[in-house]
């Protein structure tokens, strides 16, 4: 039910992002989705990749600070209002969303949401109850 997401610490230094992404590329790893949160001082790069454990190892070996977290991937219809509908379904269930980001799939009518919530089980229960599609790790990695 969960997928593995990498969080990488990004120091406030020029070229840091290039260094991180090329480390991943050299290890033959494909990025499925990414998002970056930053201030002027530092950032955290969030990545969903096809081989999360290998990516973690490669990044660690390159001296980077990495952690793996369980997040939820939700399939939503790629049309106006699709995102809003999904959000409404979990809004009244008191599911604390820490952060989320979206990406579009190769299927032209599907979009995916990566969500990091306070309580994974509660969030999944709410989403499933409303007929949302929860993606397994393998299906996301292979997208």
């Amino acid at each position: 039910m969960y997928i593995k997401q990498l969080s990488v610490f990004v120091e406030n230094k020029s070229g840091r992002l290039a260094e991180i992404t090329s480390t991943i590329a050299k290890a033959g790893i494909d990025i499925r989705a990414l998002s970056i949160a930053d201030t002027t001082d530092f950032g955290i790069l969030r990545l969903v990749v096809d081989k999360p454990f290998e990516a973690e190892k490669a990044l660690k070996e390159a001296g980077l600070t990495v952690s793996l977290t369980d997040v939820i991937a939700v399939g939503i219809p790629d049309r106006p209002g699709g995102f809003a509908e999904t959000m409404c379904k979990i809004a009244d269930k008191d599911v604390g969303v820490e952060y989320m980001y979206a990406f579009i799939s190769r299927d032209h009518d599907r979009a995916y949401l990566i969500m990091r919530v306070a309580d994974n089980e509660k969030a999944i229960a709410a989403l499933v109850a409303h007929g949302c599609e929860i993606l397994s790790g393998d299906s996301v990695y292979k997208l």
Binding site: S7, F9, E11, A37, D41, F42, G63
Partner: protein, 440 residues
């Protein structure tokens, strides 16, 4: 803890009388040096100072300072003011560069030293019958033997375990029901951790440890709290201060109120100076501590520059002692940097980082000039990726470090979190400051 005072006459003397006694002792020291110390006789003559010219304590300012280099240059016995046969003990501090510094004591010097240590040991909780384990290394270092004789003087049960062999230390501690230990703060902490790791076999309640008499290296209040919590059961630590050039431990120590270290002022006259200009500062100012040992005769020490930064409070203390109290050492004059006109010591940054989880104790201060003003950046290493899940936690961590440092230094700074192990490691003395202010 009961408030015990070893020498009420000297430690609680009205300040006027104490100052009169200091003046009398200063004059007799100068007189003694003129007659017996080749080294000081020359200096005094050059400065035009004689004992009868000294009318008040501040007249000491006419006498030049003594430095560690003077001791090195006269290695080993050039500063003795008695024939070597009159010396009953010699100690030396390890010289990392050049000659070690040698210090020597007459029988009378040793008696005075024991008296000084006895006072601070009692202020720290020891008294007749207290079992005290001395976990300082014995040898040329003054710490262990200094405490040893001072504690014997008050009638404590002295256990000279020396340093090292942790399991033995803990065994004796349990079997002898040791009440107090003499150690460096870091060794005291190490022993507590070792004791905790053996709790299955020997619960913490099998120890009777009540007091930590800590010295030889400084400790911050945060470190002290950590040590006390580790031992638990009401364990109480105090700090003491001294250096081999001034006998050894015994110059000053904390009482149960721990609001500064009481100076044995009948033996030590202290001044605080601006370490750059060498000017004596007003009472209460922060600067380099300069100490005159008023009673030492084997190897006298007049206006010794300690290079330690502190300030002195002359108000009476709740414990009843009238002796002045020096602040815990704030830093070393060698390490001082000036940022926007404010004196900053790397040790202050260090103390601000203690107790914060998620970061390593390694840090780097980077100074830059931006326009006409200095900027100070502090780089702090994360220990691992554990905080990466929640961005807010990283921001909160950065803010906490920023606020802690700003509170201590009183100037605006910038904190940058950096990768683990990305700040250069040093095997010897760490280089903590990168000053880019004069670079284009």
């Amino acid at each position: 803890m009961e408030n015990r005072i070893f020498n009420r006459d000297m430690e609680c003397m009205p300040r006027k009388e104490l100052e009169a006694l200091q003046l009398e002792r200063l004059k007799s020291l100068v007189d003694y040096c003129e007659k017996n110390s080749k080294f000081y006789a020359e200096r005094l003559k050059k400065a035009g100072v004689t004992a009868d010219k000294i009318k008040c304590l501040s007249d000491i300012e006419y006498i030049p300072y003594t430095t560690k280099d003077d001791l090195r240059d006269t290695y080993p016995f050039g500063m003795l003011s008695v024939p070597k046969e009159k010396i009953v003990r010699v100690h030396a501090s390890s010289g990392t560069t050049g000659n070690p510094t040698v210090v020597a004591y007459t029988r009378e010097d040793l008696e005075n030293w024991s008296e000084q240590v006895a006072r601070l040991a009692m202020a720290a909780g020891a008294h007749e019958g207290t079992t005290v384990q001395i976990c300082f290394g014995y040898g040329m270092f003054t710490g262990a033997l200094g405490l040893h004789y001072g504690l014997e003087k008050i009638g404590a049960v002295v256990v000279p375990t020396s340093s090292g062999n942790t399991e033995k230390q803990l065994k004796f501690m349990r079997d002898f029901q040791t009440d107090a230990i003499v150690a460096t703060p870091s060794y005291c902490m190490y022993l507590a951790e070792a004791a905790r790791s053996m709790q299955d076999k020997y619960p913490m309640s099998s120890y009777n440890l009540k007091y930590g008499i800590l010295g030889s290296e400084g400790s911050t209040p945060e470190m002290r709290t950590e040590i006390e919590n580790h031992w638990g059961n009401g364990f109480f630590c105090t700090d003491n201060y001294g250096m081999s050039e001034l006998n050894g431990p015994g110059m000053s120590g904390e009482c149960m109120y721990r609001d500064g270290l009481h100076i044995n002022e009948d033996h030590f006259y202290c001044e605080v100076i601006d370490s750059v200009s060498g000017r004596t500062l007003d009472k209460g100012s922060t600067g380099e501590l300069v100490v005159t040992n008023l009673t030492k005769r084997g190897l006298p020490m007049i206006r010794y520059r300690t290079k330690d930064i502190t300030n002195i409070n002359y108000d009476a203390c709740k414990c009843g002692r009238t002796t002045a109290r020096m602040h815990k050492i704030i830093g070393r004059s060698d390490d001082m940097i000036k940022v926007r006109g404010v004196n900053v010591f790397p040790s202050q940054v260090e103390s601000a980082l203690i107790g914060i989880n998620g970061i390593s104790p390694n840090y780097l201060i980077v100074l830059r000039r931006e326009g006409y003003s200095d900027s100070m950046e502090v780089r702090v290493e994360l220990v691992d990726g554990s905080l990466l899940d929640r961005y807010g936690e990283l921001v909160a961590l950065q803010k906490r470090i920023h606020d802690n440092i700003k509170n201590i230094l009183g100037i605006e700074i910038k904190v940058n979190l950096v990768e683990p192990n990305s700040i250069e490691r040093f095997t010897g003395k760490a280089k903590r400051v990168l000053d880019l202010r004069n670079e284009k």
